[in-house]
Structures are given as structure tokens and as C-alpha cells.
């Protein structure tokens, strides 16, 4: 699948944003951080900014962004619609939490309710994002049980990396966050490894023979293409990345997204001076961002849509 930068930015930014929101909400609900308005402002601000940038980025992928509001209506059947509705809905507990945290409660319990409701809203939104892809039987590499869980775990991981940075900058106690982040990163690494194995070994059962029904006569090979320049379908779904290149990028993304941030997180468990903590957290964050962008790029680039069997023969 063509790795569209707008969609990559959408899923990674919004994932990190919802992840950070989850960490902040958990921290708020469990009193793991001081109720510092500046922390609330910058933390939730960052989370909202990431989520909003992500959502706006996703509208760049639309042909008619001015009609985007229509995307909220088909939540009964469409994961994309559900994601949109959940994303919009999530702004409510975020707003409640944010206002309470920064300006003080307008209603009693607003802080706690905002915090507690943010968690399922954020989780559902990220889950729905993952399900947009996982629900498509046409793309085997996406139609895997691990896809939505990976989205959630990576949201938590990238959010956690940002949480560490936030706490470091504010000089608050961060070992609990660092531990949680390490766990999320380890879990993410395991899931991602399992995922790559799954897609590498998945049987490609859709064949050109079945797609054309001509298998009864033998192997199907394209002769003349229906068009000598790629059309929308092949531009969108005909992207191919070389096996070797993809494997190299997997290693790079794993190193940047998991290995380095895990090391950074371990370092954060030590009692290092705050300025060093900030540096470590910042580098971990940068590494994780680069890593998740690469991981997401691969998620698209390595995915093959069944329609290619009409154009290239073979299987998908």
C-alpha cells in the first residue's frame, strides 16, 4: 500500500497523543503527579495538539475535507466512522480534565471524572483506528489479530516516552512512568515481532487464478496491462518495497522505537541529575518518534492488497 504521509502522521501523532492522554489521565486519577496547572497545560496541551494534528492530517488525505463532518454518521457499520466519533467524543473528557487541571474544577469531581473517562475514550479511539485497517480482508498484512493491539500498545509506548520527557522537564518523580513505558515498549517489541513473523509466514491464499477464475486452465500470467501508466488503484495499492530494504527498515525501526527508548527508560530509573534525565528523555522521545514513523511507514509499504494479483499474477 502506498505509504501516504498524511495517514502515517495521522496514526502516529494521534496514537502518541492518545497515549500521552492515557498516561496523564492515569497519573491524574491515581494521583501520581502533582496537580500542577502548568503540567496539565503543557501535558494535555501536547496531547491535544498531537491528537488534533493527527486528525487534521487525516483530513488531508480526504478528497473533500470540507465534508469531513459527514464521517461521523455511519458508526453502526464503519470503523472509520467509529474512530471519528470516538475521537470527537474523547475531546469531552479531555476538556473536562484539562479545564479542571489548569483552571480548577467547575463542577465537583470534574477532574476525577475527566481523568477516568479519558481512559476508555482514548483506548477506544485508538482501537478503532487500528480496526480501520484490521477489518479489511483485502489486505492480508492488516487483516491480522495483532494489528489493533499493536496500535494500542504503541500508543501507550510512544505516549509514555513523551510522558517521561514531560515529567523530566517538570522535574517530577518519573520512575513509575519510566517503568510503565519500559513495559509498554517491551510488550510492543514482542507484539511487533510476533506480527512480523505472522505476516511473513501467512499463507497467501488469494491467487490470480481465483481472482480471474481461470485457474482451471493453469497458471495465470498478465499479458497486456489494462493501462500502461498506473491508475489510482495501482498508485494507491501497487506499492512494492524490496524484501531486503524492508528487513533493514524493520531492524532500524525496532532499534529506534524499542531498543533505544528501552535503554533510555532504564537509565531514567537511575538517580541521575535532572538535566541528564531531560536529555535522556528527549533523545528517547526523538528516537521513538523516528522509530514509530518508520514502523508505520513499513506497516503500509509491506502491506499488499489482493487487487495486485489482477495486475501481477501470483498470490496475495
Amino acid at each position: 500500500m502506498h505509504p501516504a504521509y498524511s495517514v502515517i502522521l495521522f496514526t502516529t501523532a494521534s496514537g502518541a497523543g492518545y497515549g500521552l492522554l492515557l498516561w496523564l489521565a492515569a497519573a491524574a486519577a491515581l494521583n501520581l503527579v502533582p496537580r500542577d496547572p502548568m503540567l496539565g497545560f503543557f501535558g494535555l496541551g501536547l496531547a491535544i495538539a498531537l491528537v488534533t494534528i493527527g486528525l487534521l492530517s487525516s483530513t488531508l488525505h480526504l478528497g473533500r475535507p470540507e465534508r469531513a463532518w459527514r464521517a461521523l454518521s455511519q458508526w453502526r457499520s464503519s470503523w472509520l466512522s467509529r474512530e471519528g466519533a470516538a475521537a470527537i467524543a474523547t475531546y469531552i473528557p479531555i476538556a473536562a480534565l484539562g479545564f479542571a487541571w489548569v483552571f480548577g474544577e467547575f463542577m465537583p469531581g470534574q477532574f476525577a471524572v475527566g481523568a477516568v473517562l479519558s481512559v476508555p475514550c482514548a483506548l477506544i479511539t485508538v482501537w478503532c483506528t487500528g480496526m480501520i485497517y484490521a477489518s479489511l480482508p483485502t489486505i492480508r498484512a492488516w487483516n491480522q489479530p495483532l494489528v489493533a493491539p499493536v496500535y494500542v500498545v504503541l500508543a501507550l509506548a510512544t505516549g509514555g516516552v513523551l510522558m517521561n520527557l514531560l515529567l523530566a522537564v517538570f522535574g517530577y518523580e518519573l520512575r513509575w512512568a519510566a517503568t510503565g513505558t519500559i513495559l509498554a515498549l517491551v510488550f510492543g517489541a514482542i507484539l511487533k515481532r510476533l506480527y512480523w513473523t505472522a505476516i511473513d509466514t501467512a499463507a497467501k491464499t488469494y491467487t490470480a487464478e481465483s481472482a480471474t477464475g481461470l485457474g482451471r486452465f493453469g497458471t495465470v500470467r498478465p499479458l497486456d496491462p489494462p493501462h500502461t501508466q498506473p491508475n489510482f488503484v495501482m498508485r494507491e495499492m501497487g506499492y512494492q518495497v524490496a524484501r531486503r530494504h524492508a528487513e533493514r527498515l524493520r531492524r532500524v525501526s525496532a532499534a529506534l522505537l524499542f531498543l533505544l527508548p528501552i535503554m533510555g527508560g532504564l537509565l531514567l530509573l537511575l538517580n541521575l541529575p535532572n538535566s541528564i534525565q531531560i536529555a535522556i528523555a528527549a533523545l528517547s522521545a526523538l528516537s521513538a518518534v523516528a522509530g514509530v514513523l518508520t514502523e508505520r511507514w513499513l506497516f503500509f509499504a509491506e502491506a499488499e492488497h489482493v487487487v495486485v494479483v489482477f495486475y501481477r499474477g501470483g498470490s496475495a
Binding site: M1, H61, L62, G63, R64, P65, R67, A68, R70, A71, L72, S73, Q74, R76, S77, S78, W79, L80, S81, G84, I132, S135, L136, P137, T138, I139, T205, Y206, A208, S210, A211, T212, G213, L214, R216, F217, G218, T219, V220, R221, P222, L223, D224, P225, P226, H227, Q229, P230, N231, F232, V233, R235, E236, M237, H305, V306, V307, F310, Y311, G313
Partner: protein
């Protein structure tokens, strides 16, 4: 409305005869041309006279070779929306612009409400949906909904443009939900099949398979003519003897 109708009163669709298609592209261009006006028009072009000419088409014609050596054959293969009974392209649509009509089963995109998110094209295994780069919305075969009921047309012209155009008669239109219709009978006589049936979208369009060849790979025909006995002179002599008849002018 992305909910699918429980059933549809008719199952209108096409039957494509792969034994008769010669790959002439008439269906593709007549569709392109019909849809330059009418429903969800126009189908736009990008760089039509430049170095990367491509555009929105609703029907694409492939050519394949199948098999090896003497057993191989060439098959020309038109591909367009199959108006599936349970299409994912409808249910994934976030706006309801993609829908399946309850009256006749035609799957359409409402060009006024489509947001061009392209998810439906990801959901379709047949590549039937193309994004129009100028209009910003998704387009697909409409089964010429603006022709088949058109009272300003002569009745025999109320068929999809591709069906009317096809010079070899390889495209047929009708109600696949009616077992007595001409198209249904064609399907049962010729063993019409679904594309990618295992994906369970229940395509309504059917394809008719190429018929067996009648060449040396088929059962050899019995020798029809007994050769005359070879011991009565040379070939030429025998022939001349036979031709030396009294013929009437």
C-alpha cells in the same frame, strides 16, 4: 447509508463472457465516454496529453495468458464493479455515501456526500473503485443507473453503455436474482463463476469461462475420410484418374 439492505428486490448485474471477449476496449471507452456526462460526471483525466496520462475509468480490460506451451491460451478480461450482495465497500464507508440500492442491488457512490477517504477502494478486492483526482470523490461502475430506466431512451437502449457497445456480444445485462432471466440461464448453461468467491462478498456479476479448445489438445476426431488404397499408382495418377470424369458445365 452503509447498512446493507437485507435483500434486494432484484439483483441487477452483468455477465461477462470470457470466451467471446477479444480485448477491444470498447466497453472501457464507451463507459468512459458515457460517464463524461450523466451520473457522477465527469470522469476526469490527469496529464492526458503529457508524460503520465492516467485518469478515472470504471472498467479496465486486462489480458492474460493461462497455462504453458501448447495447452496455454490467451484470455481478455474486463474488470469492473461486481455489485456484490454483501460488499465491504458499503459497510466501511464512514459517511454513507457508498450504498446498495434495495430495489435493484446496484452499488453506488453519492458524489455529493462522498468525502474521498478512499477506504472503500481499500475494501474492494476487485479494484472497482477509483478516486477521481479532480473531483475528490470515489467513482465506480453505476451499472448505468442513468440509462437502464431512462424513459427518454428507446427500450432496447436501456442497457449499460458497455453492453450496448460490445461488438462481440460478450457482455450481458439483467437480473441475476431471477432464475428465469436470460442472464441467469446463461450463467447456468455455461457455468458462470464468481471472482474471489472465498472472500464471501457474494459478487452478483458473473463470468463465463472460455470454452474448451477444438484443436489437437482436444479429443482427436476420428479419421473421417478413408484414404484410397495406396497400391494403385502414384498420388497424381490416382487423382488424375478420378478427375477424368464427365463433368457438366
Amino acid at each position: 447509508m452503509t447498512s446493507l439492505p437485507e435483500t434486494t428486490a432484484k439483483k441487477l448485474g452483468l455477465v461477462i463472457d470470457l470466451d467471446t471477449c477479444v480485448g477491444c476496449q470498447a466497453c472501457a471507452t464507451s463507459c468512459k465516454e458515457w460517464n463524461a456526462g450523466g451520473y457522477s460526471a465527469p470522469l476526469t483525466d490527469q496529464d492526458a496529453h503529457g508524460s503520465d496520462p492516467h485518469g478515472t475509468w470504471l472498467n479496465r480490460v486486462h489480458s492474460y495468458e493461462v497455462g504453458d506451451g501448447a495447452e496455454s491460451r490467451t484470455v481478455h478480461f474486463p474488470r469492473s464493479c461486481l455489485h456484490c450482495e454483501t460488499p465491504a465497500c458499503v459497510t466501511v464507508c464512514p459517511t454513507g455515501a457508498s450504498y446498495k440500492r434495495a430495489s435493484d442491488g446496484i452499488v453506488l457512490v453519492n458524489p455529493d456526500t462522498c468525502i474521498g477517504c478512499k477506504l472503500c477502494s481499500w475494501a474492494c478486492p476487485y479494484g472497482a473503485r477509483e478516486y477521481d483526482y479532480d473531483d475528490g470523490v470515489m467513482k465506480k461502475c453505476t451499472l448505468c443507473v442513468d440509462r437502464i430506466y431512462n424513459e427518454s431512451f428507446a427500450p432496447e437502449d436501456r442497457v449499460p453503455a458497455c453492453v450496448r457497445a460490445c461488438p462481440t456480444g460478450a457482455r450481458h445485462f439483467g437480473d441475476l436474482g431471477d432464475p428465469d432471466s436470460a442472464v441467469s440461464q446463461l450463467v447456468s448453461e455455461r457455468g458462470g463463476f464468481d471472482l474471489l468467491p472465498e472472500m464471501e462478498f457474494k459478487p452478483v456479476n458473473k463470468y463465463l469461462p472460455p470454452r474448451p479448445r477444438r484443436d489437437q489438445t482436444a479429443q482427436p476426431a476420428p479419421r473421417a475420410v478413408e484414404q484410397p488404397a495406396t497400391n494403385s499408382g502414384s498420388l497424381a495418377d490416382r487423382f488424375f484418374a478420378w478427375a477424368d470424369k464427365t463433368l457438366a458445365r
